[in-house]
């Protein structure tokens, strides 16, 4: 009796209501444990989490600071039953909760938390596909003027007149970057024009995979306009994967070869201005484009034309005038309109709920 009394004086209140359940929407191997704070939460050092397979021998599997009421045990084996206890700890005192009911973790097929993304993907995809379909049936699509892209024809023409090459830099991104892919699409169109005018196209690359893809694209473009002999495989080459060494190499090409036009289109980091400013000093016409917001100011300042963000993605459709691609762009615009409307409605509701009377909306 005395012992119990003594304990209750020095002891802590244990955490209560311990509940363990299979962590939802994951790939298995994880159980989430929840509890209610110990009444002495303010005094404790931390909570220790204990696990048992037989409900008798427990081992410590994790801990978390005071004030927290849940933790994930990510070391479970799927299909095995586990019991959990949570202990409140202060100095050397450790008070255990009642054990949880048995729980089993398993792998899930679908992550439901990402359903919103899936629905948005379906809606936007449907809008884009609808307009592509409409374009196929011959509907006229109006796309606003993008000066940077209109300049491409002139830029290639100018190089031809001056008898100088065109430099095409696809940036320092990898093949999985959308900006790189968009750049390679533009490269295809530019290469076709170069092939038609018989203008030399120089394409140095920073990533080996981008290089192999770029070479095939240029080759195909020369084939498609019926001039496979004009393709010079030596003008498409790999340089280095070092960011600034690549920039230095391109600067060298600009200074030595004096291209009439520089395309700086793709994924860029700090080398953007180094390239653009060197190009400007050689008097080349420069058409830049990137979706890297932090590099846009540099391009806008130092280049003649800059494709901002999605203009870059729209470019190949715009140049090729392919009706299906134009349809997809139209779909994109409607998708953006849809998102805009959702955002505005959500913002209005968000603003209104800050007024106490309109708390009903919450």
């Amino acid at each position: 009796m005395t012992l119990i009394l003594l304990c209750s004086i020095y002891a802590l209140a244990p955490p209560t209501g311990v509940r363990a359940y299979d962590t939802p929407d994951d790939g298995g191997g994880s159980v989430t444990i929840e509890w209610q704070l110990s009444q002495d939460d303010a005094e404790i050092t931390r909570y220790d989490i204990y696990r048992s397979e037989d409900g008798e021998t427990y081992e410590k599997v994790g801990f978390i600071g005071p004030g927290r009421t849940s933790i994930e045990d990510e070391s479970t084996q799927d299909g095995l039953e586990y019991f959990y206890k949570v202990a409140a700890l202060r100095d050397t005192i450790r008070i255990f909760s009642e054990p949880s009911s048995p729980v089993m973790s398993r792998a899930h097929l679908v992550d439901r938390t990402k359903m919103n993304v899936f629905v948005a993907l379906l809606i936007l995809g449907a809008i884009i596909l609808y307009f592509t379909y409409a374009a196929r049936r011959g509907r006229e699509m109006f796309i606003r003027k993008i000066t940077g892209l209109q300049a491409i024809d002139d830029a290639v023409g100018r190089a031809t007149e001056m008898g100088k090459p065109i430099l095409y830099c696809p940036g320092i991104g990898y093949i999985e970057d959308i900006a790189t892919i968009a750049s390679l699409n533009i490269l295809g169109e530019v290469a076709k024009k170069c092939a038609q005018y018989d203008t030399k196209l120089i394409n140095p690359n920073r990533d080996p995979i981008v290089y192999t893809v770029a070479r095939e694209i240029i080759k195909e473009s020369y084939n498609s306009v019926g001039r496979p002999d004009s393709f010079d495989p030596d003008s498409v080459y790999y340089v280095t994967d070092s960011q600034f060494a690549y920039a230095a190499a391109l600067d060298g090409v600009m200074i030595r070869e004096r291209p009439a036009t520089n395309f700086l289109v793709g994924w860029f980091r700090a080398e953007s201005l180094i390239l653009a400013e060197t190009g400007a000093s050689t008097g080349a016409i420069q058409i830049a484009g990137t979706d890297q917001v932090s590099q846009l100011p540099f391009f806008v300042t130092a280049c003649d034309y800059t494709l901002i963000g999605e203009e870059l993605y729209a470019a190949s459709a715009y140049i090729s005038k392919e009706p299906l691609l134009l349809g997809a762009i139209k779909g994109e615009d409607w998708g953006k309109f849809f998102i805009g409307v959702v955002l505005i409605i959500a913002s209005i509701i968000g603003l209104l709920t800050t007024f106490p009377i309109l708390g009903l909306f919450r």
């Binding site: 978390i64 600071g65 004030g67 932090s294």
Partner: protein, 287 residues
């Protein structure tokens, strides 16, 4: 009329030369520019200053030589502050490249203190006052693992000592014994500390970052996820100002000296932009 032409077409080499001179001169003849300490810097300073004596501070050196001129002064000033207040210190890097820079900073600052120390208690002693944990890849391992036990993540320190034999490491076992972590980096690393150590284990995190990347970090400061923020050369200079003003440590203030270069460089840029515009308007009026 020729003047107008000259104003709009100054040769770039002249601009480069003038810029070089104004950046170089203040560095050759250093003088310290007074700065007003802004709130984010003051916050970090007091976050370190108020760490209780039983807790330690972790400084994460995670910048490479490219950004060292901007971030080194922050590291030095923070080390001085920590040693002056005799706060227990752990130093680490999540990547291998910054290790040399961290070691350099530690060697220099401990030397500063030990050269004027008169007794053993005055000195900064390895293992008692600070430990250089070194580097354990991949980054996520130390960030999460130190919550449980620091010595089991870093079984040996940078110099190859068994960490559990060091006296300091017997007092500092895990995040519960750490009052603040300061991450100095030119990349996203401070955000990792927030995402994994701060939100999960409640470890207070401060950061020192380059001016170029600053805009990405301000939201975290506003939400209180950073317990203070040093931004670029100016952030470093403000911290140096705090250290000098409150701790009376008189040393060379590299960031504060560089501030003058920075100011002149900006002024030169503004001046050239103004000149260019004067030329442009004069030309337009003539037309």
């Amino acid at each position: 009329m020729k003047i107008i032409e000259t104003l709009t077409n100054i040769d770039r080499r002249i601009i480069y030369l003038i810029l070089l001179i104004v950046v170089l001169l203040p560095l050759l003849f250093p003088s310290v520019e007074k700065v007003r300490v802004m709130a984010p810097v003051e916050k970090l300073y007091y976050a370190i200053d108020t760490i209780p004596s039983e807790k330690a501070v972790i400084v994460d050196f995670d910048y490479e030589p490219q950004t060292a001129p901007e971030l080194d002064p922050m590291g030095f000033a923070i080390l001085r502050h920590v040693f002056e207040r005799r706060i227990k210190l752990l130093v680490l890097s999540l990547y291998v490249q910054p290790l040399g820079l961290a070691q350099n900073a530690l060697t220099q600052v401990t030397e500063e203190f030990n050269s004027v120390a008169k007794t053993n208690a005055d000195s900064i002693i390895y293992g008692r006052d600070y430990v250089f944990l070194g580097w354990v890849p991949p980054p996520i391992i130390p960030i999460l693992g130190m919550a449980e036990s620091i010595t089991s993540v870093y079984t040996v320190d940078y110099y190859g000592n068994q960490t559990d034999t060091l006296p300091l490491m017997q007092e500092v076992t895990n995040y519960n014994d750490v009052g603040l972590l300061v991450s100095l980096s030119g990349s996203d690393i401070p955000k990792w500390w927030v995402a994994y150590a701060q939100s999960r284990f409640g470890l207070p995190v401060g950061a020192g970052i380059t001016a170029v990347s600053a805009s990405e970090f301000y939201p975290y400061l506003q939400t209180g996820q950073f317990s203070g923020l040093l931004v670029g050369m100016k952030g470093g200079a403000e911290y140096e100002e705090m250290v000098e003003r409150t701790l009376k440590i008189k040393v060379r203030r590299k960031a504060s000296e560089a501030l003058l270069s920075l100011t002149y460089a900006h002024l030169v840029m503004i001046l050239f932009i103004v000149i260019g515009n004067i030329g442009y308007f004069a030309k337009r009026r003539k037309k």
